[in-house]
Amino acid sequence: MIPDTDASISEVDIYEDPPLIVRFRKIITTTRRTLKSNPNLLVGTVIIAFMLLIALLTFLPTKDFVARYNPQDLALQERLESPSGTHWFGTDSLGRDVYARTLHGAKTSLRVGAAVAILVTIVGVSLGVLVGYNRVADNIVMRFMDGMMSFPTLILALALVATLGSSLNNVILVIVIVDTPSMTRAVRAVVLSLRERTYVDAARASGASTKRILFFHIVPNTLAPVIIQASVFFGGAILTEAALGFLGVGTPDFIPSWGNIISAGRGYIRVGFWIAFFPGVFLALTVFAANLLGDGLRDVLDPRLRGEE
């Protein structure tokens, strides 16, 4: 609650929240302590923050300074050059600078990851709460979700992208579609167990409406599992986007993405292995960091699932 500034200051209310600055400091210390006690979380956060920084710098006007070249500039007389002082990660089969393309690829990957995580959370939580609270909707929606879950996700995504056509937005849409069932299922399970809790009974007994119970008592308590799931989907989406790009149906070539750079470099393994090598390092690091972040968040938010006692 935001401290009420109109309240008379003479009366000391022990229930009043401490001033903002105090709470802010407390958040900082807790965050620092949590990060220190959990190496997974720390490493994951640092790597993701680094990639976010790259994405931001290549998005802003600083892009030509950071990436050194325009990722689309063709220079056919400089094709397939190995890494050197002028082209740090070498050049590809069209003479484009791989370093510039890799850095710009960060933008694409993180955009896909973040968009998918956010959209899946919104759709999954809404559906999960709906089906957790409504028997009829539960039967209809969950049978549909079961059907979708009977396809291995990458293969379903492959088929959907093929049908819809390759574009960045379609890639995002498709990954959201294939990830939604598992998010819905996770939220539904939490909602089903929460609605039987005594405090929900208590809220109902005190006359709270269903809407109020849902938004004040149920949804906030799904937050921990949802955050954990979302961090997993963030990494998974980046990986799926890259895999689709690699299979040649993902993000179109004029938007550099780690997947399509690797795909383009695949044919040049003997004469230009650097084309696929460097973006792959970035991709592997980012997905690894996202998974570490997920594990770390799970340890912090849900101690029951922790590996060690």
Partner: protein, 276 residues
């Protein structure tokens, strides 16, 4: 399909030939009918039936998935149990890092690195392609070694994580404490009590592994240019050969559902408390 100089009549003809001039609902009903009668349709391009294509390409895929699956189980379960047993130790940490890397590193990139290191530089294995075992047995072994290892790295990582979690849970149960209190040796506690109790969740792993393999095989066959079913899907998706894509998806989904059904049935066998 019709070529660059096709007039509207040619297009109309092709549409009629493929049945695309009928309403979508009619097309769908006809497709369901054909599929139920076992006719999976024909490729738009090569004119071969899907069954022919599957028959021609199932060999490599079976070699890869069976090899990769077995290797994944052989590595994953012992390492997972060991990590749980030594929870918190340096070994545990190392195994967990391996599993985390195995899940995070994209298969198509790792495959590329493996080809680069073992085929291009060291020349131990062929760079791409597949040799049938009836043709040349050693050639077959050499051609599937790298892809099988690639599939197993990812598969075993999934297994390690699930096995470790389930064994840890079992180790916290009262009956394990009882067994320890009775003075049983560590070995007896692990093999006679913990593993038996942990068997159920480990069966679940097989379901997860199946999904991992089915997805992995598409990517792996593409990296190593192996003419299997996975490559078939990737190719037909690129060329938009929809009848093949559609039937392949349905076949894979049925296979996946069937495997999960077997997993559920296995529960009944291993755990008398579970009833059908």
């Amino acid at each position: 399909m019709a070529g660059d100089y096709a007039g509207p009549d040619d297009v109309k003809l092709i549409r009629a030939e493929l049945g695309l001039d009928k309403p979508v609902s009619t097309q769908f009903v006809e497709w369901v009918g054909r599929t139920l009668r076992g006719d999976l349709g024909r490729s738009i391009y090569s004119g071969k039936s899907v069954m022919e294509l599957v028959k021609a390409r199932i060999g490599p895929t079976l070699s890869l998935t069976i090899g990769g699956g077995l290797l994944a189980v052989a590595i994953g379960i012992p390492l997972g149990v060991f990590a749980a047993w030594k929870a918190g130790s340096r070994w545990d940490r190392g195994i967990q890092i391996f599993a985390a890397l195995g899940i995070s590193i994209p298969g198509f990139w790792l495959g590329f690195i493996m080809i680069l290191a073992f085929a291009v530089f060291l020349r131990w294995f062929p760079v791409i392609g597949y040799v049938s075992p009836t043709e040349n047995f050693m050639g077959w072994v050499r051609s599937i070694t790298l892809p099988v290892i690639l599939l197993a790295i990812n598969g075993s990582s999934i297994i390690i994580r699930m096995t470790r979690a389930s064994i840890l849970e079992v180790l916290r149960e009262d009956y394990i404490r009882t067994a320890r209190a009775k003075g049983l040796t560590n070995k007896a506690v692990l093999f006679r009590h913990a593993l038996r109790g942990g068997a159920i969740p480990i069966i679940t792993v097989v379901g997860a592994l199946a999904a991992g393999l089915l997805t992995g095989v598409v990517v792996t066959e593409t990296v190593f240019t192996i003419p299997g079913l996975g490559r078939l899907i990737a190719e037909t998706v690129q060329t938009r050969d929809f009848p093949v894509v559609q039937s392949m998806l349905m076949l894979l989904a049925s296979l996946y559902v069937f495997i999960n059904l077997c997993v559920d049935l296995a529960y009944v066998f291993f755990d008398p408390r579970v009833r059908l």
